[in-house]
């Protein structure tokens, strides 16, 4: 059974107790704290699922958190959230792609001549065969796009969006997918950072 959702996911994943040192630090930026949570709510309790279904949202979140590997609490949280609502077999298919997609970032080619010396090889990631069949065309295309966004976003090009369109993604759906992956890149890093701060002696 899924547990009742935490009131504030970042507090939950960092382990922030009311009245603690980290609680006081976050309270000094209460608008950012509330709206980071409002962002999570907008993405994961949407009023309108027409562009991207809730199962797709949770699948992509489990994938993105899994690719980050850190913080472990978030990897487990998003995997559990997905598994609690996923059709049979889908959670295992996403977990298999997390394992296959392991890489480090940011990498990628700079097309600009003066920056070419900074270009590094980006991981290639394509879902084929059984994986694609299990995920379906839409979700497979979404995970491929998410892998690019996480590890080598500077290799952006219009053709990547066209691949999503070809897989059935609308413009609002692509905007939501892009926000969801990018939001997680923010949220996971806030959790990593605040956990390190909590583990260090007070200033």
């Amino acid at each position: 059974m899924p547990q009742s959702p935490p009131k504030d996911v970042i507090d939950h994943l960092v382990g922030i107790e009311p009245g603690s040192r980290l609680d006081t630090i976050r309270a000094a930026r209460q608008q950012a704290r509330d709206n980071a949570q409002a962002s999570y709510d907008a993405l994961f309790s949407p009023d309108d699922e027409s562009g991207m279904s809730l199962v797709e949202r949770r699948a992509v979140a489990a994938f993105v958190a899994g690719l980050h590997r850190q913080p472990e609490a978030a990897v487990v949280y998003y995997a559990d959230e997905f598994a609690a609502s996923a059709p049979a077999g889908l959670a295992a298919a996403v977990a298999a792609e997390v394992a296959r997609g392991a890489a480090e970032g940011p990498t990628g080619r700079f097309p600009q001549a003066p920056l070419a010396g900074e270009s590094t090889a980006a991981p290639s990631f394509a879902i084929a065969g059984e994986g694609r069949a299990a995920l379906g065309e839409r979700l497979a295309a979404a995970l491929e796009h998410a892998h690019f966004l996480v590890f080598h976003p500077r290799e952006a090009e219009p053709a990547r969006l066209q691949r999503l369109v070809a897989a059935g993604w609308s413009t609002p759906g692509i905007v939501t997918l892009s926000q969801l992956v990018s939001f997680l890149c923010f949220q996971l890093r806030v959790v990593v950072g605040l956990r390190a701060l909590a583990a260090s002696p007070a200033s």
Binding site: E104, L161, S182, S200
Partner: protein
């Protein structure tokens, strides 16, 4: 050598850039009250970037309010210049020329250290600025890696450089937020020189 107007910029710059979307933004006439709420400031309806993001107004509105408190709430904590430095460093590291241009400009404006900021853009995140700025840049880079490499040694270096708990939290949020912004700016359109 300067870039030709209307073409993608060749290098990181503090110059003002345009940004052109690769998908159709919402047309003005399609804006409902919910979209206006998502845009937060009515003036953002003039921006193709925000009008593209307005296709999902709820997340746009929450994102904008998160952004504003992280960067504009300067009650104590990290000075605005160094919040902008964390944003510019993350953007330089991820390779977002547009985001780096905006936040390098702000870092210069608030710090009055335009040449140091330009060195970060020209030489990259490994350049030497001064011990305090180097600690902010290094920590922003460590946090921007995937998997993130940010831990207690980055915290210790930031403390050594004079940042208190709230300032460190501000730096974390500034760099983390640009891991959100960079990916949207990079993947949904491209910068063009003015």
């Amino acid at each position: 050598m300067s870039d030709t107007a209307g073409t993608p910029p060749e290098r990181f710059t503090q110059a003002e850039l345009d940004w052109t979307p690769w998908l159709d933004p919402l047309p003005q006439e399609a804006l409902t009250e919910r979209h206006w709420a998502g845009l937060v400031d009515a003036s953002r309806s003039k921006s193709p970037y925000f009008m593209l993001l307005a296709h999902d107004p709820d997340i746009l509105g929450a994102r904008t309010k998160t952004d504003k408190d992280i960067f504009y709430n300067t009650k104590e904590g990290l000075p605005r210049a160094e919040r902008e430095l964390s944003a510019a460093a993350a953007s330089r590291f991820n390779g977002c020329i547009y985001c780096a241009s905006v936040h390098a400009r702000f870092a210069s404006q608030f710090s009055k250290r335009r040449d140091d900021v330009q060195r970060l853009l020209d030489e990259g995140v490994g350049t030497d600025l001064d011990p305090r700025w180097d600690a902010v840049v290094a920590a922003s880079v460590a946090l921007s890696r995937t998997p993130p490499q940010f831990g207690t040694s980055e915290i210790a270096a930031l403390r050594e450089a004079g940042l208190d708990d709230l300032a460190i939290s501000d730096m974390i949020h500034g760099a983390a937020f640009f891991n959100w912004a960079n990916r949207l700016m990079l993947s949904l359109g491209e910068p063009l020189t003015k």
